[in-house]
Symmetry: C2
Subunit: 362 residues, 2 copies
């Protein structure tokens, strides 16, 4: 029996994508071996690799100015790889600070150049409850790039409109909301996302970057860290994580089969409306700390009146087959992550439970 | 129907490890979700992670002076990560050149220090047919480390005895022969291996390193590249490739179940004896270019009298259900990779076919 999985990542994956993997795990397309036993240079795997790129390009409408890469190391490695490629000692980049992950990205950039904080919404208690407004940004027109985190899993905040950064290249860590909707990426110089939210298992990182931005990357760094080398080799410079990319292909094929990102977005907006609706209706019981305009569609964060009630909520939900609801250890409370594999029905089950819980414990 | 898979990597994996993955792919240990949908911070995944480390430690007899890490990026990333951690501008490391992979490792080290070629067995035609003898090494006692490649997949050469490098830390790229036998790793400062040969799918890199060597790593590099950070966090500094590590766990559990590395080594020696025996018996037809003492137990390389016969051999073997036999594109000929999932019976089928082929085409 499958549970209802509200994990923040690695997150639940769509059942059809997993079933497809299970059914052919020992014998991929009648080749007599698993997809993970195929050579990454063979036509069977290369077809999967290229189909994953083609599906992503189609679903997101990625323009020909941009290229899709499959790398490894997660967002954490990108925190270092971006400045390694685009900063030199003495040059700067602007960082928009909206949470712990922005902070980590900022720290790693210090080893390669001089990152600047162009804005922060940190509070005295070190938490964040909103993303900045355009007029708060103090941008440097000479920055090598502007770095931002599009969604902040821990705090449940999200940029619903991306900032105007002028002519400076925009670099976006989309790890925690990539593919929640169709989104124009033509104006983004480079985006990166660990797969383990909407896209697949952990172990593969998707990068979508402008070809002309990639071309400006430093050439005096190891080949394996140059975006340009991976771009020239279609992400086959070295052995890619073939099984993880195969699973990403399965998830993307599922997204297409259900109607693409327009349908995915509609579901995500329905799920968020259900959850925030329940919170607002019982605002005296459920406290949602995030500023309304910054509320995340992917991670809905709230607190019950006491920590004991937070714990009771998580425990009772578990008896109803709903897991992954405990808030991040630094924030406490409840976090409902509604990545793409979570259905509207799953969320309805949770909001019914929330109604019931407020009646019995409110 | 599963084929007989002689792929050089990603290589075939033991069927029981794959069947176990298939059987619980949708519902891991009755948790209601796939292992890849579990949080890397949850007790279910952490048990798998720690079991993989414990099994590897037990199978190889890793001493407490050493620690096991699970990283990503394959050997190619280690080519850069090792010098990033252990070289500074002006310091040198000694490289033992035995093939293309040693050459690539050497090139990446140039971005961090001054690597030296302490020996090379390259021939005028740029190929390699042997590993060096101890008395050929020109070692620098002040080197930060000595780097070597224990097995050379492309050329089919292997170090059967590791060189004496004195007090200088030994770093070994074991990507293509890790776990072919029980091996004392206490004298190795750091070894690394992409999983995709004897260990699991591509997408995870195993590092086994001396704790005191790790501690000497540079602190002025990004956190994500420091071995020390991953060691302190038991390879959970950031989200690890959980599915790949789970599969490594399955493969290690299989190794233990069949009798551990003593049994694995016995099978590997039998397989190599069968193949080299067939080559030597028909030395007029099958040409094995590798010097006898350097012959690899993992990759058996040979040529037929003509390229047309090489191609016919590969094509006819395929009709018998044997795949993955084509030599590397830079060397041509035939390459039989006999990683741990290849059985003695599989190799007997191939040597029977070789006998037949020499009779019909010799």
């Amino acid at each position: 029996m499958r549970v209802i999985n509200f994990n923040p990542g690695p997150a639940g994956l769509p059942l059809p994508a997993l079933e497809r993997a299970r059914d052919e795990l020992l014998d991929f397309e009648h080749s007599g071996m698993s997809v993970m036993e195929h050579s990454h240079r063979g036509r069977e795997y290369e077809a999967v690799h290229n189909e994953a790129i083609a599906l992503l390009t189609e679903l997101l409408g990625i323009p020909t100015s941009h290229q899709v890469l499959f790398l490894t190391g997660g967002a954490s490695q990108q925190f270092a790889q971006v400045p390694m490629n685009f900063l030199t000692p003495g040059t700067s980049a602007d960082y928009l600070m909206t949470g712990v992950w922005s902070e980590k990205a900022f720290e790693e950039a210090k080893y390669y150049g001089t990152p600047r904080v162009a804005v922060t919404t940190v509070q005295p208690d070190k938490h964040y409850t909103r993303v900045p407004h355009q007029d708060e940004l103090r941008l440097d027109a000479k920055a090598a790039y502007v770095h931002m985190t599009s969604n902040n899993t821990i705090y449940g905040t999200q940029w619903h409109t991306f900032p105007d950064v002028g002519a400076v290249p925009l670099v976006v860590d989309m790890s925690s909301d990539f593919l929640w909707r169709k989104q124009d990426v033509g104006g983004i110089a480079l985006l990166y996302a660990g797969a383990q939210k909407n896209l697949g298992p952990s172990g593969v990182t998707v990068v979508v970057a402008a070809r002309d931005f990639i071309a400006r990357g430093r050439k005096d760094i190891p080949k394996v860290f140059r975006y340009g080398i991976h771009a020239e080799n279609n992400s086959l410079y070295n052995t890619p994580p073939t099984l993880a990319i195969y699973l990403v292909r399965n998830v993307l094929a599922w997204m297409k089969s259900v109607g693409g990102l327009a349908q995915i977005e509609a579901w995500n907006r329905q799920k968020a409306a259900l959850l925030y609706g329940a919170l607002d209706q019982h605002a005296g019981f459920y406290r949602a700390p995030v500023e309304r305009a910054s509320r995340s569609v992917m991670n809905v964060v709230f607190h019950l009146p006491t920590e004991a009630l937070d714990a009771a909520f998580v425990a009772e939900a578990r008896t109803q087959g709903m897991v992954g609801l405990k808030g991040h250890r630094t924030s406490g409370g409840i976090r409902v992550s509604t990545y793409n594999a979570v259905t509207v029905e799953n969320v309805q089950a949770l909001t019914s439970f929330m109604e019931h819980f407020v009646k019995t414990h409110g």
